[in-house]
């Protein structure tokens, strides 16, 4: 598949903080179109900084960054290119209440399109489609303030989808939601990933959420600490713990049982897989 994001020796420092180490240091990685990547890292690891570089909310200090063939770090990057970039990459942030601006759901979804000057008929069509994609059609005329957290985030996602992006970044977009809201949001974006080939970058602190992605990138102290399948990354449980992260609960049990002498494979992911492996191990004893 085609490469969508490429970072080469990318670094970034916040100028405002004196003597602070760079927030990101020498990041080199590539993400293909249509990939589903979870980005893990503790608070302050630099994972949100990375996301903000991708749509140029922040500008890299050094290194090169490409999105869909455009070089963001090119000195004569034009304003037109910047607008094109931001249409390609949509972001959904943590707090739904900070992202919804209008008094009616459908107007909120249309906000970005209005700013782009999209013709009325086209706007109408895109808003309708976006709301239908996130399963919020029946709430089109509701007030966002009266929705649940999960519903609000789905409206925020619809607002991003209406811009027809090819990539969506969820920057801890599930952190403020209850378990049901989290599932609602994840199932919505995962469906878009499967059916429409949306490239998905999910920045999260929830290990079980990260386990759903096809690939996990762990950022630690501003560097890429691990990059692999959930199974490869979560097999390094003790090292993950040492940098303040963890593994999903069921994986933890399997890893503990391995230490207890059970013959189980490293990096088991998901309740059913773990249960199968444990049943197998118990059966052979």
């Amino acid at each position: 598949m085609k490469e969508f994001i490429r970072a080469e020796h990318l670094s970034f420092s916040y100028e405002s903080i004196e003597d602070a180490p760079p927030a990101l240091y020498d990041i080199t990685l590539s993400i293909k179109k249509g990939e589903y990547v979870a980005v893990l890292g503790h608070n302050g690891s630099g994972k949100s900084t990375f996301a903000k570089l991708l749509n140029m909310i922040l500008i890299p200090t050094s290194g090169k960054l490409y999105v869909d063939g455009m070089e963001l770090t090119c000195p004569d990057f034009t304003e037109e290119q910047l607008f094109a970039l931001r249409r390609k990459i949509g972001m959904v942030f943590q707090n739904p209440d900070n992202q919804l601006v209008a008094g009616v759901v459908e107007e909120d979804v249309a906000f970005g399109l209005e700013n782009l000057g999209v013709p009325y008929a086209e706007m109408h069509k895109r808003v309708k489609e976006a709301l239908s994609l996130v399963g919020m059609t029946e709430y089109a005329l509701h007030a966002p303030s009266r929705l649940s957290g999960g519903q609000k985030q789905r409206v925020a996602i619809a607002g991003v989808l209406a811009m027809l992006p090819s990539c969506m970044i969820l920057d801890e977009a599930t952190a403020m939601l209850d378990p049901q809201g989290r599932i609602e949001v994840l199932e919505t974006v995962e469906k878009l990933h499967r059916e429409q080939g949306l490239t998905l970058l999910h920045i999260t602190h929830y290990m079980d959420e990260a386990a759903r992605a096809g690939r996990i990138v762990v950022i630690h102290d501003g560097r890429v600490w691990a990059d692999g399948t959930p199974s490869e990354v979560f097999a390094r449980r003790d090292e993950l713990r040492a940098i303040g992260l963890d593994v999903p609960g069921e994986t933890e049990i399997v890893e503990d049982l391995r230490k207890d002498g059970f013959s189980l494979p490293a990096g088991c992911i998901g309740t059913e897989v773990c249960a199968d492996e444990i049943a197998k191990a118990l059966g052979t004893l």
Binding site: H42, R146, G149, P179, G249, D256, D260, A275, I278
Partner: protein
């Protein structure tokens, strides 16, 4: 002994408008002194309304809030004192940091309590130590702190009042696993040092299983069940019906049961399930 009690408390928002909404209907709960009680429930179940009743931020439409058996609304002039005794940390408390330095921010409530400068300084240091905030950060402006540090500073601001009851609405939301563990350990340390009662709201069943002794389960403005952690987690169907996730460890135990492996014992924490699997293996070895 119960330190706090809600008796048949009901509350509605926006009464008399088209947006009128019931937040609590006939809620009766009690909180044991010196224990950590968790409150769980889906979004909109009434958890946050309930905790705001505990220190008199909200007034019940009917029913009573009792602190050591005394109705806190009997003499509203005394409510500020109730709020020193029942410290409430709201959701995302870091948005409320406002003072010029972290030290001044944490010391805000003790200053309002009229304590001496020496006493204030001592309390600020103690509170910062409980939440694991390094002392060299105390002279920084709160805005220069990282997200996790801001959260700690905000919690320290309540701990500095040395409340008898410490109420926290999702204290660990948005923190990474280590940050979360450090906050909870800090709360435990405070509880031990001052014999305090802790009440916390959380969406994480794992955290509840790990850190709480008692749990209150809420659903659609009502308390569905109140009991020990074991009581609550022994009814996974009740949790799922209430829109909550069951702990990952218990999910695995259920998946093993479907495969004919019936584990015994405490099955809602990872260590519990690990022990149960080891015991199961041992039991079979003997057969």
């Amino acid at each position: 002994m119960n330190i706090l009690e809600l008796k048949d408390v009901s509350c509605r928002y926006a009464i008399g408008t088209p947006f009128e909404m019931t937040a609590l209907s006939g809620v009766s709960v009690s909180f044991e002194k010196g224990k950590t009680t968790g409150i769980i429930g889906h979004t909109g179940s009434g958890k946050s309304t309930l905790v705001q009743m505990l220190n008199g931020l909200l007034k019940p439409e009917s029913g009573k809030v009792l602190l050591y058996g005394a109705d806190i609304w009997e003499n509203p002039k005394e409510l500020p004192k109730v709020r020193y005794r029942v410290g409430l940390v709201m959701q995302y408390p870091e948005y409320q940091l406002f003072d010029e330095t972290v030290r001044a921010d944490i010391g805000y409530a003790p200053r309002n309590m009229g304590l001496s400068p020496e006493e204030i300084e001592q309390r600020v240091k103690e509170a910062a130590a409980f939440v694991g905030l390094p002392e060299d950060l105390l002279d920084k402006p709160p805005l220069e702190l990282s997200g996790g540090q801001k959260r700690r500073a905000a919690i320290a601001g309540i701990i500095a009042m040395r409340p008898e009851v410490l109420v926290l609405d999702e204290p660990a939301a948005g923190l990474d696993p280590r940050g979360k563990a450090e906050i909870f350990e800090g709360l435990n340390a405070y509880k031990k040092a001052h014999g305090a009662t802790v009440i916390l709201v959380s969406h994480s069943m794992e955290d509840m299983a790990k850190y709480c002794e008692n749990v209150i389960l809420m659903r659609h403005t009502q308390v569905i069940k109140q009991g020990s952690v074991r009581d609550i987690f022994s009814e996974p169907d009740l949790l799922e019906e209430s829109g909550l996730a069951i702990p990952a460890a218990y999910r695995l135990a259920l998946a093993l049961r479907r495969r004919g492996i019936n584990l015994q014992g405490e099955l809602y924490t990872t260590q519990g399930v690990r022990r149960a699997i080891l015991a199961y293996q041992e039991g079979r070895g003997k057969v």
